[in-house]
């Protein structure tokens, strides 16, 4: 069969330059190794480990999937990695101790939690300019921008609040008090509902975005595990609107929740101290980062079964996936 020679060479070049470009890939930040682990999602194996800044925690993709933003907390910067070359091409002025962040749908404005400074810093990812710094509660952590781009919501762990920031004016408009130590916020695809986990409170609040009031509060019970150890952190909503997955920290379980009725359907045993999660691009699998066991668990979303664990670096924290 005839193959145009240039296409062949292009293919080879692409294989050499970006081995990860073909298969779907996951990137996992290893907080205590100052590295990222690259996982090939076909073979479910680590193919590469990349050195990055100090104490990498939150990671996020640019909307076009060409860049990866990395909170290098102890380097006090957000690093920008070119995904084609795996080289750090820029350091954004993130403010001190960046922990988590969220990219605005405009693909430019990055909303960053500065954990040590009780600030949210807004950075333009193109001009590298700080657009605003907004004072929030003690230990800002979770960050999410609504799908319509109107709201940036930050959680402050010691203040136990959700802070609602207007992305037009960068003013703080409202605060919603939730249970102790809110860690993570996640908007539904439609943007009408916000899920917020409270690690020490042991609950997940479901918040109506229009009124910014809590409409439901989820609690969790796992047989044989002390309630104090059930500590919700990461929340992920399946694209079909069917499930919410809640990572329950040192209880080493992920709760499967019916996203419509808020009923807890099941608890899946994963690695130790599970914090953050991400779906594979085809939504077939959910990856979890397990800090203490230093691995990633793979959950089959259809069967609701844990099918594999993948050893990564020390204290895996954040995870993203791309095609």
């Amino acid at each position: 069969m005839y193959q145009p020679p240039f296409l062949k060479s292009l293919l080879i070049a692409a294989m050499l330059a970006t081995p990860a470009a073909h298969a779907a890939t996951a990137y996992v930040s290893n907080e205590k190794d100052n590295t990222l682990s690259v996982i090939d999602l076909d073979t479910m194996e680590v193919t590469k480990t990349i050195e990055v800044g100090e104490r990498p925690r939150g990671i996020a993709l640019s909307k076009d999937h060409t860049k990866l933003y990395i909170c290098a907390s102890d380097s006090d910067t957000v690093q920008v990695m070119d995904l084609a070359t795996h080289k750090i091409i820029a350091n954004l002025p993130s403010g001190e101790d960046p922990e988590q962040f969220s990219l605005h749908p405009d693909n430019r404005r990055l909303y960053i939690s500065n954990e040590d400074d009780a600030l949210v810093t807004v950075v333009d990812t193109e001009t590298h300019e700080v657009l605003a710094q907004i004072e929030v509660g003690v230990e800002p952590e979770g960050m999410a921008v609504s799908p319509d781009g109107r709201w940036a919501v930050n959680t402050s762990e010691t203040t136990s609040m959700l802070h609602w920031i207007d992305t037009e004016t960068h003013d703080l408009i409202d605060n919603t008090l939730v249970d102790q130590r809110p860690r993570h916020v996640e908007f539904t695809k439609e943007g009408d509902i916000l899920w917020a986990s409270s690690e020490i409170g042991g609950t997940v609040s479901v918040v109506d975005v229009a009124t910014r009031q809590i409409i439901h509060k989820l609690t969790f019970q796992i047989r044989g595990i002390h309630p104090d150890k059930i500590q919700p952190v990461g929340v992920k909503l399946s694209a079909d609107g069917r499930y919410a997955f809640v990572a329950l920290g040192p209880s080493n379980h992920v709760a499967v929740v019916d996203a419509k009725t808020y009923e807890v359907l099941d608890y899946l045993l994963v690695g130790r101290r599970v914090w953050h999660m991400e779906f594979t691009p085809d939504q077939k699998y959910l990856l979890t980062t397990n800090g203490v066991s230093g691995d990633v668990s793979v959950i089959d979303v259809d069967k609701l079964k844990v099918i594999k664990s993948i050893k990564v670096g020390r204290y895996p924290w954040g995870v993203v996936t791309l095609d």
Binding site: D116, L172, G201
Partner: protein, 392 residues
Amino acid sequence: MNKLPRLLSAATLSIPLLASAATTPLEIEIGYIGFEPDHGPVLSNILPEPADAGLKGAELAINDSNTTGRFLKQHYTLHARSTDQPDQIVPMTQALYDQGIRLMVLNLTREQLVAVEAELPDDVLLINAGSQDNALRTEQCIPGMLHSMPSRAMLTDALAQWLMTKRWKRWLLLEGQTPEDRAYADSVARSAQRMGAVIVERKQWSFDTDLRRTAQKELPPFTQTDEYDVVVVADERGDFGEYVPFNTWYPRPVVGTQGMSPVVWHRVVEAWGAAQLQSRFEKLADRWMNGRDYASWAGVRTLAEAVTQTGETDPAALKQFILSDKFQLGAFKGRKLTYRDWSGQLRQPIPLTHPRALVSQSPQAGYLHPVTDLDTLGFDQRESQCSVKGDS
């Protein structure tokens, strides 16, 4: 660029409970009394206890509470007084009361706490952030007083649980000469009995031995007793205890007030978000946060959390809320903390540390309790005559 000044006017409330407070800021005034004694000469004075231990923790808690308070129109002020003169304590507390201050965190000894409580009228809420005295939690309860500082029994039970999980059951107990050392050693003896360990011998380090010789020469014969698995040291001010590790007759670990210690707090605790608390503290105080700082921090945060949740500043209402099952304190120890509604003691996990690392944290797995495993540390309800809930 910086929008800070506009922030205050923009912050609105979404909690109906607190809506009434939105018009005028709620002023919360908290008193802090610290006794900063001279600990006397010690053999090892390389790392002295900072004089402002406790005070800096209270200051940090006020800062933390004001950051939260901004969004709720609450403003916290600390009125801190410290002295090294025991006879100044009661007048200083009285003066704070006369200023109208009804919420106080006290970094004091047992005798001072008793005197302060006896002097003040009943419409106050007092939190002990200084004394680890076991009697205050059992038979010499001070009416209405809460304790953010753990008791010695909580510390020694935490240690004993860990030793038992290691199956190190034979202990040599060494104590210094102060009443505090004796109290610690008594608490170790109680924990040994409770957990099923054996104290092969209890010896006092009197240091009336040949002073021309060094610890290296003195300690091996001093620790030459029936064989033990571990040496437990009770030397709270750090006089001789620092010299026990590596100088024992048998090659055995050293635990207790030196070696590996059960502590209220230590720089090496960094899980559960503690790294952030540590770095906030270091920025404020320019030193590491210790157990006294932590207890005062937790005391002030207890009051502030209760104000945030209830919108009240009345001492009786706050006390009732703090002792209810609605109260929970996020305090960087991996789980929410609550108060025992009989002794007023803040339940808390106890880290076990050596100077450069965290070894473990008690309660240990397998130590169970019908209410909470945290109640396997210290005195349970039936061991205590206190009834803090019923006190005025």
